[in-house]
Symmetry: C2
Subunit: 110 residues, 2 copies
Amino acid sequence: MGLTKNEIFNDQQNQIALFAKVFGHPARVAILQHLFKINACVCGDLVNEIGLAQPTISQHLKELKQLGLVKGNVEGTSVCYCIHEENWNIMKTVMSEFLNQDLTHKQECC
Amino acid sequence: MGLTKNEIFNDQQNQIALFAKVFGHPARVAILQHLFKINACVCGDLVNEIGLAQPTISQHLKELKQLGLVKGNVEGTSVCYCIHEENWNIMKTVMSEFLNQDLTHKQECC
DNA sequence: TTACTCTATCGCAATATTACGATTAATAGC
DNA sequence: GCTATTAATCGTAATATTGCGATAGAGTAA
């Protein structure tokens, strides 16, 4: 109890859930939007941009990196983050397939 | 601590996160996929289809209903669930806008 | 009414997530 | 070496999520 039973779902379902979970927090949404907007890489600016403490931002970035959606380059004392384009596109394919499902027949009830 | 600081994010970011959070569990992904596949409405079959206990399925359905992605019709002793098409399309618009962001300029680092 | 079926809700235990202060590690500049 | 700057990690508190047994509620059928 308390832990998700991943083993009873298939790989595709688990992958969709993993991607969705990382988007399930507004801070990570905001981080990604900022990385898209500032097309050059962004470092510690994220802490100023988003109103959360540095350890919290660092933790969110870690999750984004673990899923491969963001990559970070060390540049002196600071770290430069940006969108991992190829992986973002892979994610987009997976999520789009899920979101664009169609109801082949119209419903008769409801 | 321990609670998401929604107030520091804008409505769009919070809405994306809300939609994403509901997709952030494979059981809810599986429920939605099944509802799409069985284009007629589905009732307690979900409990058999997915390997979780009835209270657990009921709870996941509740969350999907609260977000408006699923609607339920009482039919005798059972309840008939189906995708709420209009709301699903609204959600798709919101999520697509987020997923289809573009990097206007290519990155120089990373 | 009684018995049965199906779904929702309650209550709890286990686990996960969020946030941040304090600290550590790594680099840059002197 | 020392100091300043930046980011990662540790540790912990607060809250949220997941799952299910037990129970309640609502409808059907006899």
